[in-house]
Amino acid sequence: MNWSPILISLKTASVSMVITFFLGIYAAKLVAGMKSDKVRIFIDGILTLPLVLPPTVVGFFILLVFGVKRPVGRFLLEFLGVKIVFSWTATVLAAVIISFPLMYRSARGALEQVDKNLIMAGRTLGMSERKIFWRVMMPLALPGIASGGVLAFARALGEFGATAMVAGNIANKTRTLPLAVYAEVAAGNMEASYGYVAVVVFISFIVLSLMNYFTIKGSKYTDKDASK
């Protein structure tokens, strides 16, 4: 078993999860705060899109945006010197785009479940909207947010179709765990694939445990016996 896919996947999944986490929460906040139901539903549709299309197709569309001949891709290349396609950045990009709807949707549900009265209480106490968000809404929405985080991380870790499309499948560079698993399965090397699957499972167990730990810790206030 080769260690590089594991490292690459870990790096990709962690980085993309951090990005998705904040991006998703931010989007959720924006959308949840929208006045017009129609606009909200529309934006909601757009943001959920990466989930309803086959990842390969999503990857293809990403390629159509970030390809070096396309405006965005050309801009990035010429002005920032960044070439997305076939780079490690691309694995992150793909993972972020694919896992984004999970985070966004979960966070939105969780934020909507927060007692409006408490938000109002924060306002009458002169707390800024930002402070209310970070000190009141987020902690109270933690279980939902955490489950969004878990979903996003898991999805980023397992991301395959779009990654292969945008980042390629280059050993030591963009070959992530799922690509390795897939490659082994495709090449009929079942034993090798089991090894990678075991690693994937192991990583997700670790992350899930951590998440569970933090969620439990973060919501200790509901635990009546906390100060015992």
Binding site: V68, K69, V85, G168, N172, V185
Partner: protein, 251 residues
Amino acid sequence: SQTPPAGQETPEDQQPVEEPQPRATILLAAAASLKNTFDNELIPLFEREYPNIKVDATYDSSGKLQAQIEEGADVDVFMSAALKQMKAIDEKGLIKEGSIVELLENRIVLILPKDSTADISSFEDILKAETIAVGDPESVPAGQYAKEVFENLGIWADVEAKASLGTNVTEVLSWVAEESADAGVVYATDAASNTNVKVAAEAPEGSVSKVIYPLGIVKGTTKLKAAQTFVDFLMSQEALAIFEKYGFSAN
């Protein structure tokens, strides 16, 4: 048994002296069916012979690779599983003039599950199968060839009605291996890679155009020299022998 690669007059051991190879990493984009050959043997061998050149490889279906190259992926050498994709890229002017080599040939075979007792021993017999696994002719080269065979036999319409169109070769193989499908059409090299299938027949001579694996250097490459060295290596007898070991034949 080291034969100098074709197109290279000087013996390989003198090469660094006469023309030092620039330190370079090149990226090979190859059809998924070539993965084992490259990863297990050819690339390690090449890198041993040319320590200055490192080869990265990405494998996928040729159609995807085509799209990626068209969108500017940093590919230096492209090897597809059919001429169609190579031509398409070439027509867009993305392949270095005159660099296309029709290197390998693969064969189209009819496969059955290992334990199959079905009375199928030729491509015409495939209609006895209840479900047929073939690659999607629209996107999977093996599927295109299968379609061609069946069209020449005049039974494509009947086959299509029973067909499940795989989006890649792995699917087609797995379907047959797991007996989801009763028969399927893949490359000989694919059939060889899976022990749960057996070959029932090869495509009859003349029923299908040659299954060519062309090789080309992508025009945008900045490492022309290294890429050329690699292509030359692949054309060497030594390399071809390895390809043959994996079921290909030199064209």
